[in-house]
Symmetry: C2
Subunit: 358 residues, 2 copies
Amino acid sequence: MTRAPFQRAPLAQTLFLSVQDVATIVTQVGAAATLARMADYIEADYKRWQDFDKCARVAAHSPEGVIELMPIADAKTYTFKYVNGHPKNTQVGLPTVMAFGVLADVDTGTPELLSELTLTTALRTAAMSAVAARTLARPNSKSMALIGNGAQAEFQALAFHHLLGIEEIRLFDTDPVATQKLLNNLKHTTLRLTVCDSIAQAVHGADIVTTVTADKTNATILTPEMLEPGMHINGVGGDCPGKTELHPDVLRACDVFVQYEPQTRIEGDLQHLPANFAVTELWQVLVGTAAGRTSPAQVTLFDSVGFALEDFSSLRYLRDVATEMGLGQRVSLIPNLVDPKDLFSLIRPAPVALALAA
Amino acid sequence: MTRAPFQRAPLAQTLFLSVQDVATIVTQVGAAATLARMADYIEADYKRWQDFDKCARVAAHSPEGVIELMPIADAKTYTFKYVNGHPKNTQVGLPTVMAFGVLADVDTGTPELLSELTLTTALRTAAMSAVAARTLARPNSKSMALIGNGAQAEFQALAFHHLLGIEEIRLFDTDPVATQKLLNNLKHTTLRLTVCDSIAQAVHGADIVTTVTADKTNATILTPEMLEPGMHINGVGGDCPGKTELHPDVLRACDVFVQYEPQTRIEGDLQHLPANFAVTELWQVLVGTAAGRTSPAQVTLFDSVGFALEDFSSLRYLRDVATEMGLGQRVSLIPNLVDPKDLFSLIRPAPVALALAA
């Protein structure tokens, strides 16, 4: 029998992190430290923006929602995320957003890590918002309006609490059960949580305004008359064609910052503005080639849509922390072959089986 | 404590099929029956071509290879495949091509099946080749040249043996170890296997010529003088920009059939021909709106590149057969939440832990 010169197959190459594994990481590391480390990974990657092969995400739209693939790579590492957005899912007991992703080695294409990314997406979206806000919001911002108290709201609240020093959060949601859930989830923190009767009431006097609503519609959560000098708007929920939160005049009244301009023009609240409406990519502010906030009275807007680079950073973080903690399970997602050209060996009938089948 | 009106979380939604699970399916169902069923699933899906939301695959190229995502959807089901192509991988004991994929529900975005697709890709590529050949090759074709005896070669041999009645296969590979491996793997079949000293010798007199080489280069495996009247060329290995197998004049001498024209113009051997060079999409032949082979002397060419629809069909098949056989493992790739808006519940500190941490 002829064999290629490989003595033994390598071990299963893919580490699988389940939802429980990532939850274990967050509870053992702590939510505050997890958000801080993810923010650092994200900021480090944004500062080497030119290293990445970027593209807009690939979306499959349907009447009820969207399924997207978000690939990105540098010279060494490739990642992608699968993520859906189905606002009616909660009616059937499913999350609006579900996600998972893979980190692979560029040189061989080996998928090294497969991880849940639903919980991770909420964490990284909040960490990304905090990275933007710590560059764009007024220093010593203390209060934040939080419009939309659904699945992502606690993560935004904690990120702004721990990474920016926000002490008071003013809550509004059309669903009082969602707000009550948030109050319950954050009751053990030192955040002062105030339930408001309207968006206007929540926004009035806030240093930062975070909008994180889920309806797949062109909503008008914020209107220009709600803006106050010096505010920072963290617009998270407008992230898909036909799914926006801000009146176009809100964008016109702000200095607008984005992750990746070509994608945000399609998906962000920016979709309602003309193609020549000026925006600044955040990485330029982070590396110092563009200005962020230049005056205390300026109103800044981070038109967040969720970009593949945050998932790249998150998967890097998860790989590092899971390896450190010894978490996860090796799964046979790709074959281990004694001879890599002998894929057929996986299904080669054993001599005995052949004899029986003959 | 406030709860949304969901009494209990659903079970883990994602079925995971490992390499071993798919190998078990193939060995229990049998390679011949597996290839036949996959071919039927593929043909059924190609016959409803208009039902699909199609796009060219999304490729990330690097010096050593390529990593691709291949999404496709109909109104009910979404699938994607992750696949790499790294010709030098065999030097480090890894397969050239590794793949996995997911089948998801369009209405909710739930990933229902996660499966290995390395073994499956070899099976479905061979099944696809057979679907094309049983439409395009001369009836009663009995002999096939098989140029390239690597990881996919046995699958092509078996598909043409079982689905088209090929009885003799004439082998050539620059690597004699690969050919020996193929001989060993297929020695228990009734195929007559002949090792040839050159491509020209293997091709001479063959009814069908299959090229399935791996080098990422513009190779010239087939030249026009090798063509004989009535041949069917099954060109499998030219599937990526800069990775081709056929002299451009081979295409000019043939009637050329493709899976999805926009993708094949970029990735197939067709990449060397002008944009107006006429080709026929195979689905049109299958539904009867375009002619396939029209004369015994005609030379037909299937310029195969691997299209997402074959993976869609394969994932459908795997889901059906795994369910029937009770194979696979449920994994927690996405969270099960009692209240789908309460993602934070996954990391909510238990009261005792909080008391200790206070």
